[in-house]
């Protein structure tokens, strides 16, 4: 399940960061992903909410800084 989510998140990261070859790892963080800065973060989250038809609170958006917590939160919202 989480692998499927990660794959969908990966496509969004590739598009938004204009890195078609980007391969996200569950252990990745804002530090390890090139271009994942605070400005891109907001757009990444906007697209992720659209993709999964979910909604994060502002607090949640601000707290996400790792792929693992991002995927975990998406999973939570989908249940």
């Amino acid at each position: 399940m989480n692998n499927d989510l990660l794959a969908r998140v990966n496509i969004i990261f590739q598009d938004v960061l204009a890195q078609p070859n980007l391969k996200l790892n569950i252990s990745d963080t804002a530090e390890t992903v090139d271009g994942w800065d605070s400005l891109n973060h907001i757009y990444l989250i906007t697209e992720i909410q659209k993709e999964f038809s979910i909604k994060f609170s502002i607090q949640e958006v601000r707290s996400i800084d790792k792929i693992s917590s991002l995927v975990g939160l998406i999973n939570e919202k989908l249940i």
């Binding site: 590739q14 598009d15 938004v16 204009a18 605070s38 400005l39 757009y43 906007t46 958006v61």
Partner: protein
């Protein structure tokens, strides 16, 4: 016709199209919100038009700090354009904290004060984004008219901005409000983005803003649209006149033909404001002309078109001919056609042309063209309106020309009179306009601003003048601008530009005679001119050579020419002097 999404633009690779390549333009953006998401879309749309850009964002909410400080990064980076954006959200909180009826007037004062200060000291033109209407209503319909309501005051603020921006040289309003209304305010505002990062609107709205901003900048840096070349079948009317007959085409004040009728009304308005119309259509000429002449619901008639090409040749060839006939560069032409094949053929043969895509099956034709911002322009003068008339008169001149054996006879018969005048408040608007618009007959392509010209006028180091021309067919108005820099031993021609409508009329010789008179009066007997090549001023490549100057030195980006004169030196001209000099 699918509009691109923000994500698709981020994803796309930025490739420069073939054809036009404008050097790197620096755009400086000042905003009281986070406008950075504009960067990729603006770059994308500019690149599609062949303009490379660097976009610099000032730190958020430092608009007047930058504008009023000569040492700020804004001044130091010497941008090519400044875009000032005030977001509505910032204003709303201000509104609710202040008492009184006119709570927002101070905001306008600040914007205008900062912009005037900058414009008096720097070269770059300014675009001021107006305020997007708020959604809040404390009545409903009454908010519009009640003075203490936010909606009323924002509307008033925008009206005041329109008026006051006009008092600043080279400063125009970018009407973001009407863009937002077109997209629908509920698709523009996004409270989450605002709370998260002071991002003032939805990402998709950044696409609209970027596309429109690029259109405005194109009109400034490449050219505004001066002529629309139109297809006929499924563009000016529905159906194919060759198959359906004049009676069978869709064109009517009601029903299925109404969209074409409305499109013609729209084109008529564009024509009335000075944009030329022309036709490039693959049809039997007589049949198509019969539709134009005889169809009862036709709004445009034959005389509304400055050039009509109805034949079976490829459209790029026809458009090139129209371009030559009307003396309008291809990059100032908008070609509108419903057929993808024709659009692609024209675009690949003439890459700098603008293409208007229409699809008669998907709603309003007026909307499909209007929303693209093709007709954006940095300035508008009364002279623009007269353009159609001018070209009609030109046609008469051409007809006369063919009846003479020699060019000299023809020119003599034109009864041309030129009038030389000083640069002053009276003619400065037209001079600045001509300076910005003239690409071909422009020797150094120095885009001097109003203030720079007025500074030259005041300085004893410079002599400036403008030339008006008229002939028996009509008045061309102000068509040439000259700036002379007086050196120790020589007179340097700092600016010489002439409207392309009056070439080959011996005007250059007339002006040269005037320059000689000015020089002799100042006791200078050497005149020096420079030619700086651009992609568009090839027609004046040999200008000084033709006038008998000799080449002093030449580098890649410039050639310097010089001529020794004597008091009685006179060039042959067919233009009479229309007025005594002051």
């Amino acid at each position: 016709m699918i509009d691109l999404s923000y994500r698709e633009i981020l994803k796309s690779s930025f490739e420069t199209p073939l054809g036009i390549n404008i050097e790197n333009k620096k755009i400086y953006i000042l905003s009281d919100a986070t406008l950075e998401p504009l960067e990729p879309v603006l770059k994308y749309f500019l690149m599609k038009m062949g303009i490379r850009s660097t976009i610099i964002f000032a730190p958020i909410d430092t608009i007047n700090i930058q504008l009023l400080d000569l040492n700020s990064e804004l001044y130091r980076s010497s941008p090519d354009i400044v875009f000032i954006h005030n977001c509505s959200q910032g204003l709303f909180s201000k509104f609710h904290q202040v008492n009184g009826e006119d709570k927002l007037s101070e905001t306008v004062d600040h914007i205008i004060e900062g912009c005037s200060f900058f414009r008096e000291r720097a070269k770059a033109p300014i675009l001021i984004g107006n305020l997007i209407s708020p959604i809040e209503r404390i009545f409903g319909s009454l908010d519009r008219g009640e003075k203490f309501c936010l909606y009323h005051q924002v509307r008033k603020l925008n009206d005041t901005l329109d008026l006051r921006a006009k008092t600043i040289d080279d400063c125009i309003i970018f009407d973001i409000d009407s863009l937002a209304n077109y997209q629908g305010l509920k698709n523009v505002y996004n409270d989450d983005l605002w709370s998260l990062g002071k991002i003032p609107f939805n990402y998709e709205f950044f696409v609209s803003v970027g596309e429109r901003l690029a259109a405005i900048l194109r009109s400034r840096w490449i050219s505004p649209v001066k002529c629309i070349v139109l297809d006929l079948d499924n563009t000016l009317w529905g159906g194919v006149v060759g198959d359906d007959g004049v009676e069978g085409i869709l064109l009517s004040t009601d029903g299925d033909g109404e969209k074409f009728y409305r499109f013609q009304l729209f084109l008529k308005s564009l024509k009335d404001r000075g944009i030329l119309l022309a036709i490039a259509s693959k049809n039997e000429k007589l049949t198509a002309l019969r539709a134009i002449q005889k169809h009862p619901a036709m709004i445009l008639n034959e005389l509304d078109f400055s050039s009509i090409k109805i034949n079976w040749r490829d459209k790029a060839t026809n458009i090139s001919e129209i371009s030559q006939e009307l003396n309008i560069h291809v990059d100032s032409i908008l070609f509108i056609d419903d057929n993808l094949f024709e659009r692609d053929q024209v675009k690949s043969a003439l890459p700098s042309i603008q293409i208007g895509e229409i699809n008669p099956d998907s709603g309003s034709l007026v909307e499909q063209i209007s929303k693209k911002g093709f007709f954006e322009s940095f300035s508008f003068t009364e002279q623009d309106k007269l353009r159609n008339e001018q070209y009609l008169i030109n046609k008469k001149r051409r007809d006369l020309q063919t009846s003479f054996k020699s060019v000299g006879d023809y020119l003599k018969n034109l009864d041309m009179k030129a009038r030389v005048s000083d640069i002053s408040e009276k003619n400065i608007d037209r001079i600045v306009e001509l300076t910005n618009r003239t690409n071909q007959f422009n020797l150094r392509t120095k885009r001097y601003s109003r203030l720079e010209y007025l500074r030259f006028v005041k300085s004893s180091e410079y002599k400036c003048f403008a030339v008006n021309l008229e002939d028996r067919f009509g008045d061309y108005g102000l068509i040439s601008v000259i700036v002379l820099k007086i050196g120790n031993g020589e007179v340097f021609i700092d600016q010489w530009l002439t409207s392309c409508r009056v070439v080959s009329r011996t005007l250059d010789e007339f002006i040269m005679n005037y320059i000689i008179r000015v020089s002799v009066k100042l006791d200078k007997y050497q005149i020096v001119g420079e030619y700086i090549p651009t992609s568009k001023n090839l027609p004046v490549q040999n200008f000084y050579n033709n006038l008998g100057f000799s080449l002093l030195r030449e580098t890649e980006g410039s050639s310097i020419w010089s001529i020794e004169i004597e008091e009685n030196k006179k060039f042959k001209t067919y233009i009479e002097d229309g007025k005594n000099y002051e």
